[in-house]
């Protein structure tokens, strides 16, 4: 089955299955769009297409229209830098880009009149989905999937419960796609953010549309709990993911939503698999290591990192690097600490900083800092935050002549904002006399 099949099998055709603060879409509207663009869709048949949308609802509409028709569907972050975008497009042999903000790239812009005759094919193409991920090092990578591999963990339609999914992630992210597919395939409704939305207005939208399933990072959940109206969310289930879920946030959520099923998910995009914990405690029980789980097996490496293998994997990285398959364990790079019957996540082995679910590679940020005139050496590290897991801080060795400049740090910060995504920009800057190097001349990164 392709996505359009799931949409067309819905009985309530005028009820929106997807809503945001700005737009909504129902079955009748999608059918109309498919009819209006049938020539264009025939033109795109078998091609490699990239989607780059700011509007989540528009992105979803295009995904639904193109799944089963195009050969490859690359879903790009709308905030990717032009250079990065060029790389993605060339490594996926993309032939056409569709966007709601880039020039000349809407479905309407495609001129099909010059085409002689388009074959009237109706076979369903097993579209390859390609998503971007920050990977283990914070450097972006492309991961291949199929609709089948992406929907392996989707729970089937439950006729007794009407699920309305809230989604706080942008759809280009793996977590966002998971929620979209869960709601489309299982005949549920979905309420999603648009990027400019404030958390407060999102909550209003969720409450108004009776969102009863919500997935968010622990950082977002802490923020949700700080908004008084959060108590009006009629949640029957909530999920935490993307960051380490500590006992504080888990018990706070248990108290705030006593009748709600709570689970936190550990997911490795690299391994293409994850598992969930439903006992309301941080970490996971040691039985997961010893006995394994349905379709997932876990081990601990010599470096105390989690090894995982599964039959439900992503099809691999573009670029041919190895990814988990049913024969190999893959190293997730997440460090574990085992205390008695419980295993706890301690952070990334390679020092990648997790800022509210977004991964930051300290060395990458250091390189950017050092391209600014006057910065001789930079050391970027995580400052522990009880609120957000971590914040980015840096120590700088600044050349003497630049130290006297009054607005040096301010200008450096402005520069960083043009070169880095917002969550990567250091929050704290400290000018120091020297930075400790280890005996290979690299910055000494202490745990």
């Amino acid at each position: 089955m392709i996505l359009m099949d799931f949409i067309l099998s819905r009985s309530e055709t005028s009820l929106p299955f997807l809503l945001s603060t700005k737009k909504s879409v129902n079955v009748d509207e999608i059918k109309q769009k498919r009819f209006d663009y049938q020539q264009t869709l025939a033109f795109l048949r078998g091609k490699n297409v990239a989607l780059c949308f700011q509007s989540n609802v528009e992105l979803a509409i295009h995904i639904i229209l193109l799944d089963g028709i195009v050969n490859r569907l690359l879903i790009l972050p709308p905030d990717s830098l032009p250079e990065q975008r060029k790389d993605y497009l060339s490594s996926t042999d993309t032939e056409k880009v569709l966007s709601d903000f880039l020039e000349a790239s809407s479905l309407a812009d495609i001129n099909t009149q010059s085409l002689v005759s388009l074959k009237n094919e109706t076979n369903k193409i097993p579209t390859q989905w390609v998503l971007t991920t920050s990977g283990t090092t914070g450097v972006p990578k492309l991961v291949k999937h199929t609709l089948k591999s992406l929907t392996r963990t989707v729970k089937a339609s439950n006729k007794e419960h009407h699920f309305v999914w809230g989604c706080l992630y942008h759809l280009h992210r793996f977590a966002g796609i998971q929620v979209l597919l869960q709601s489309l395939v299982a005949n549920n409704q979905m309420v999603i953010i648009e990027s400019a939305d404030h958390l407060s207005s999102m909550l209003n939208l969720f409450i108004r549309h009776h969102v009863n399933c919500l997935s968010a990072t622990p950082t977002l959940w802490r923020n949700i709990l700080m908004l008084p109206k959060s108590k009006y969310l009629p949640l029957s289930q909530l999920t935490l993911g993307g960051e380490i879920a500590d006992d504080n946030i888990l018990s706070a959520l248990t108290v705030a939503y006593p009748n709600t099923k709570i689970r936190h998910i550990y997911a490795s995009t690299e391994a293409g698999v994850g598992f969930s914990v439903v006992d309301g405690l941080a970490g996971f029980p040691i039985t997961y290591l010893n006995d394994g789980l349905d379709k997932v097996k876990l081990k601990v490496s010599d470096k105390n990192t989690l090894l995982i293998k599964s039959t439900a994997n992503a099809s691999g990285y573009i670029g041919g690097e190895k990814i988990a398959n049913q024969f190999d364990y893959i190293d997730t790079g997440d460090v574990l600490n085992i205390e008695g019957e419980r295993c706890y996540f301690m952070g990334r082995e390679n020092g990648t900083i997790n800022i509210g679910g977004n991964k930051v590679n300290p060395e990458y940020v250091e390189q950017v800092l050092m391209t600014f005139p006057g910065v001789s050496l930079a050391y970027v590290s995580a400052k522990k935050s009880s609120v957000m897991g971590s914040l980015v801080q840096c120590q700088l060795v600044v050349a003497a002549s630049f130290q006297k400049q009054p607005d040096f740090i301010k200008q450096l910060k402005t520069y960083c904002k043009t070169q880095l995504k917002s969550y990567m920009v250091p929050v704290f800057f400290q000018v120091v006399d020297h930075i400790k190097l280890n005996n290979t001349g690299k910055i000494s990164r202490n745990e």
Partner: protein, 85 residues
Amino acid sequence: MNNLRELVVTVFNEALELTDSELINVLEDDTVLLESGLDSLGFAILVARLEEELNYDPFSIMEEPVYPTTFKAFLDVYAQYADHA
């Protein structure tokens, strides 16, 4: 507790500036923190900076997690754990 209030307001404004945000209205007792103009990163900066100034972070100390919604509730949390400085 006036000193605490003044300090928090100063650091609050610092956090707003660091995140290029602006105060929506005036900071009053019943102002909801995350509707004041301060976003989640700003809030994290506020707590981190206050820890530098006061030598304690109530959110890491507290046994029962509390997530203050208003400005007054936030001040109360800091006042409650003041002897941990």
